[in-house]
């Protein structure tokens, strides 16, 4: 066993913090993104509920947030964080900027996935007398499923990257461990270890994502 210079409990805590941040923000972000992407697809100029105003507003908000680098976004929305979770620092406080970061990102990816669904399917749904909600629930989302899973996979990997910066507001996590112990204390073995862990983590997520995406697509 290589000596990493930090207690095992510290390593486990960091891993837990990263997993917590990634999956909670992913869950909330996905819900928001599904909603927003559906709104974008339905209201876009070729959509079945064409609405210029709603489309332009949502589209602009998504673009604006996507323009801000995460490290800046995090400190920029500190007042919002304070309002929502009652504190500006810590792992839970990091969830707010992570959600704000990932939701528009996933919205864009989901929008593309849903737009890939053959227009004829929507027409068939309308001809069957489906309501707008039913069109989304029974036609658009199931048909886009394979592509949506890949989008979530890409989003998850993006989130892992973002959590490394969350150390800046005291959120901890694997990235923070690498910076404070590995970089600042010149602990190269620890740095290497965290990098390997992150690579394994990202590879596993991509593999799992590909597996499920192929599974729902390949019939």
């Amino acid at each position: 066993m290589i000596e990493l210079g930090v207690p095992n409990s510290r390593l486990i805590l960091a891993a837990e913090q990263t997993i917590y941040m990634v999956f909670v923000s992913l869950g909330i972000g996905t819900l928001i993104a599904v909603l927003l992407s559906v709104v974008l697809v339905l209201t876009n100029p070729g959509g079945i509920l064409k609405n210029k105003y709603i489309y332009v507003v949502v589209n602009t908000v998504v673009n604006v947030i996507r323009s801000i680098p995460f490290i800046i976004l995090m400190v920029f929305i500190l007042p919002l964080t304070k309002m929502i979770v009652g504190t500006r620092i810590g792992t839970t406080a990091a969830l707010v900027p992570l959600v704000v970061f990932i939701a528009p990102y996933l919205t864009r990816l989901f929008e593309n996935s849903i737009l890939e669904v053959n227009k004829g399917i929507i027409e068939a749904a309308q001809a069957m007398g489906a309501s707008y909600f039913e069109i989304v629930r029974y036609f658009l989302l199931p048909e886009a499923r394979g592509s949506l899973i890949l989008s979530v996979t890409t989003g998850t990997i993006g989130l892992i990257g973002a959590t490394a910066m969350a150390g800046a507001i005291g959120a901890g996590g694997v990235g923070d461990l690498a910076l404070t112990y590995g970089y600042e204390r010149l602990n190269f073995p620890l740095m290497l270890f965290t990098v390997v862990i992150l690579i394994v983590f990202v590879q596993s997520i991509q593999t799992v994502g590909n597996y499920f995406s192929t599974k729902v697509r390949k019939h």
């Binding site: 068939a124 069957m128 007398g129 029974y138 036609f139 199931p142 697509r217 019939h219």
Partner: protein
């Protein structure tokens, strides 16, 4: 009863107005298999989509069973749509769902009880002869099988009308024929009115009882298939009909006619129904001093009625030929002189 009352539709694309439909009036009676034929861009699909309000007319009124479909609110319209089945050229099945689930979808949307759904889907799959494919996915099926599933799905809620948008255009001739026979069975057994748009004249010939011919957004000719096919009026119609019912002298025979120095006239004679059974040519040969020479003949069956077309070279004196013509007219047989 489907009633198009003076329907016009104008699309605006990049500030240019495109007249997709211009003052179309058509009536489709219950029990009809009504075919609309035209080249692509003639406005047929737009016309078809008026019936379930997938397209809304810019002018005119669309009536289905006496109700103005564009005056309904959305929930009423959805109820009406559930009683109008629709099938598509590209089938539009859900690739992510099994055959069973595809057929079940309209029933789920109609909040049918789960057990009843199972019974109905089983029934429908056996009707389209694909019971063994219930668990397959659309990508595992051939084009013809996909269209059968599309048909099963369209029939799920016992519609009174079935709309077919180029339903056989993506299929090979043999598969097309089997789908057409299925549509015929649906019309006869389930008593469903069928409206078909197509660019394939043989589709009209083989199953429709009435036809409308469209060109540039207008209906140029309409009537029973027998009327339109036996005596097409518009050039457009003639072109379509000629591809399935040829009525011209083959070119090599035309050439030999150029060298023929005898006095003759060429008569194109059309026999319809019982007329076809009488032996006109024999009568002419035995009663007039002329020689007859059949240059072209075709016999087709339309709507269980025989349509025969003959081009006869009648050789003899003008006076005798005129007597032959008046004999043909006395017998109320359609004829036309052919000019080379």
């Amino acid at each position: 009863m489907i009633n198009f009352v003076n329907i016009s539709k104008t699309f605006t694309v990049k500030r240019q107005k495109i007249k997709a439909l211009q003052h179309v009036s058509l009536q489709i009676s219950d029990g009809d298999i009504f075919g609309v034929i035209g080249f692509s861009g003639a406005g047929k699909s737009t016309l078809l989509r008026m019936v379930n309000a997938l397209e809304i007319p810019t002018e005119g009124r669309m009536e289905v069973d006496g109700r103005d479909i564009n005056a309904l609110d959305f929930s009423e319209l959805r109820k009406v749509r559930k009683k109008i089945g629709m099938i598509f050229q590209e089938f539009n099945l859900l690739e992510s769902k099994s055959v069973y689930d595809n057929v079940a979808i309209p029933l789920i949307l109609n909040h049918v009880d789960k057990k009843l759904i199972q019974k109905r889907v089983t029934e429908l799959l056996s009707f389209v002869e694909l019971s063994d494919k219930a668990l397959a996915y659309p990508s595992q099926l051939s084009g013809g099988q996909k269209q059968r599933i599309g048909i099963a799905r369209a029939l799920a809620n016992n519609p009174s009308i079935l709309l077919c948008d180029e339903a056989t255009s993506a299929l090979d001739p043999e598969t097309t024929e089997s789908i057409l026979q299925l549509l015929k069975r649906i019309n006869k057994k389930l008593n469903i009115t069928i409206l078909i748009v197509t660019h394939e004249i043989h589709v009209i010939q083989s199953i429709c009882n009435r036809v409308a011919v469209m060109e540039h957004g207008s209906v140029v000719e309409t009537g029973t298939v027998l009327e339109v096919f036996s005596n097409p009026q518009q050039n457009m119609t003639k072109r379509f009909v000629q591809t399935v019912i040829p009525d011209e002298i083959p070119p090599s025979i035309v050439e030999t006619l150029h060298d023929d120095v005898r006095n003759y006239r060429l008569l194109k004679i059309r026999f319809l129904g019982n007329n076809a059974k009488r032996n006109i040519v024999y009568y002419i040969n035995t009663h007039y001093k002329v020689e007859t020479n059949i240059l072209f003949a075709s016999v087709n069956e339309l709507q269980q009625t025989v349509l025969g077309i003959f081009i006869v070279q009648v050789i003899g004196d003008d006076s005798e030929i005129n007597q032959v013509i008046s004999y043909i007219e006395r017998n109320k047989i359609q004829w036309q002189e052919v000019v080379l």
